[in-house]
């Protein structure tokens, strides 16, 4: 979606807050959001792509005023409500009024280390890659209202395949719970002048990772 998350190349956000240095959290509650979000993921109601879509679906007015963990929190509240595990009334009251449905899947402290170490690989058996390193491709004018990982700033741009990654879970379908539908994944490199116009830095190149449905031969 052409949502608030699609930030590449946008103007008007001011300088990078370099002075914040190594800061990872603005406040103690942000740490809890990190932990609760990862723990709740173990319940199995959503996947990484669906959670990203919940975050980018926040209104721009909220998204741009929230710290990153506030975005996570609001999306988590939404996902838990969509799952039927938490009601708006419970959130307002700060108290549970019904037992959990998937308490059997609760992530226990002793399992944390193994779960984090395992992670969630997204490579899958799938179709052979149609493109090869060195092929010229154009990124399609792909603008779904739903989730996509094709950023707006490279749509319509022509680049070169520089890496093949095999087939990976396709976020556009996965985020809407329509299956993993693995698709070949590539790194596609561009000249900045192709992406941002003739005034761009001539010594700059950049790349995105893009699934085959995003691409057409140029």
């Amino acid at each position: 979606m052409n949502g608030p998350q699609d930030l590449g190349g946008r103007h008007g956000f001011g300088p990078v807050d370099v002075a914040s240095g190594d800061e990872m959290f603005h406040a103690a509650w942000e740490k809890r959001v990190l932990g609760i979000t990862l723990a709740a993921g173990a319940l199995g109601y959503w996947n990484l792509d669906a959670s990203r879509h919940a975050r980018e679906s926040l209104s721009p007015a909220i998204y741009y005023n929230a710290s990153y963990y506030e975005i996570w929190l609001r999306a988590l509240e939404r996902l838990l409500q969509d799952a039927g595990e938490v009601s708006g009334a419970e959130l307002a009251a700060g108290q549970s009024s019904a037992p959990g449905l998937r308490a059997d899947r609760c992530l226990k402290a002793e399992a944390v280390s193994a779960v984090l170490k395992r992670g969630g690989p997204t490579d899958r058996p799938g179709a052979a890659s149609a493109f090869s390193v060195g092929d010229r491709v154009r990124l399609r004018n792909h603008q779904p209202a739903g989730h996509t990982r094709l950023p707006g700033y490279v749509r319509g741009c022509t680049g070169v395949i520089t890496l093949l990654h095999g087939a990976h879970v396709y976020p556009d379908s996965h985020a809407r719970f329509d299956g993993e539908q693995p698709q070949p994944l590539y790194t596609v490199s561009f000249k900045a002048t192709e992406v941002f116009g003739a005034d761009a830095d001539p010594a700059l190149t950049l790349s995105v990772d893009a699934w085959e449905p995003y691409l057409e031969r140029a």
Binding site: Q5, F13, M24, E85, T205, S207
Partner: protein, 203 residues
């Protein structure tokens, strides 16, 4: 820590809101607060850029390891014990005297957790995400890094589950240093591409 634009009463509101959610989920048996503690503990104290620095120092010291890192970064990095969430598919990109690399996630906050820990707040905020792809030289200047205009830059936008680790150039006059001492020269920012590894870097 600082609170940016948040007033204290907003922070309090957020604290209350998070506490409410954690209370509800705990009452329902859906989360274990000790698991939440363990997750926080992991990324606050156990997993951080020291891991990545060990990868870089090994690559500087051991050409065979460097080659492995180029060919299969996920396996090479896992051989040092660093693997898992947000590092399932690693690619290492090597700076050279003529080519600098910079990593960003314009769409969210993708970052190689097993080697760098959690991203710093600026990495996830709009200014870095918006500007890194368009004007990395200006962004690098804000970080105090001045590259010559002839130094090429490549920016890697992490739009899939591939995670990128920048291998900075080895500083001059470090032939005598041990791998552990070399690791002390490798800053987190140098592995994102917002900094350089230098002889003066503090451990």
């Amino acid at each position: 820590m600082h609170d940016h634009d948040h007033h204290d009463n907003e922070l309090d509101e957020m604290t209350a809101r998070v506490r409410a959610l954690e209370t509800i989920l705990t009452q329902k048996g859906l989360i274990d607060p000790a698991a939440v503690d363990a997750i926080i503990e992991t990324y606050e104290h156990k997993v951080g850029p020291r891991n990545g620095a060990m990868v870089v120092a090994r690559a500087w010291s051991d050409p065979e390891f460097a080659e492995w890192l180029r060919e299969d970064a996920t396996a090479a990095i896992a051989s040092l014990g660093f693997e898992g969430r947000q590092g399932e598919h690693m690619v290492a990109v090597f700076n050279t005297p003529t080519q600098h690399n910079l990593v960003v996630c314009t769409l969210c906050s993708c970052y190689p957790w097993p080697v760098l820990g959690l991203p710093p707040t600026w990495y996830k905020a709009p200014p870095y995400r918006a500007r890194a792809v368009r004007e990395p030289r200006a962004v690098l200047q804000e970080f105090g890094v001045q590259l010559g205009p002839q130094t090429k830059i490549h920016v890697w936008d992490s739009t899939a589950e591939i995670r990128y680790l920048v291998i900075p150039q080895r500083p001059a006059n470090t032939e005598h240093l041990s791998e552990a001492a070399l690791a002390d020269l490798v800053t987190r920012d140098s592995m994102i591409g917002c900094g350089l590894a230098t002889n003066e870097a503090a451990a």
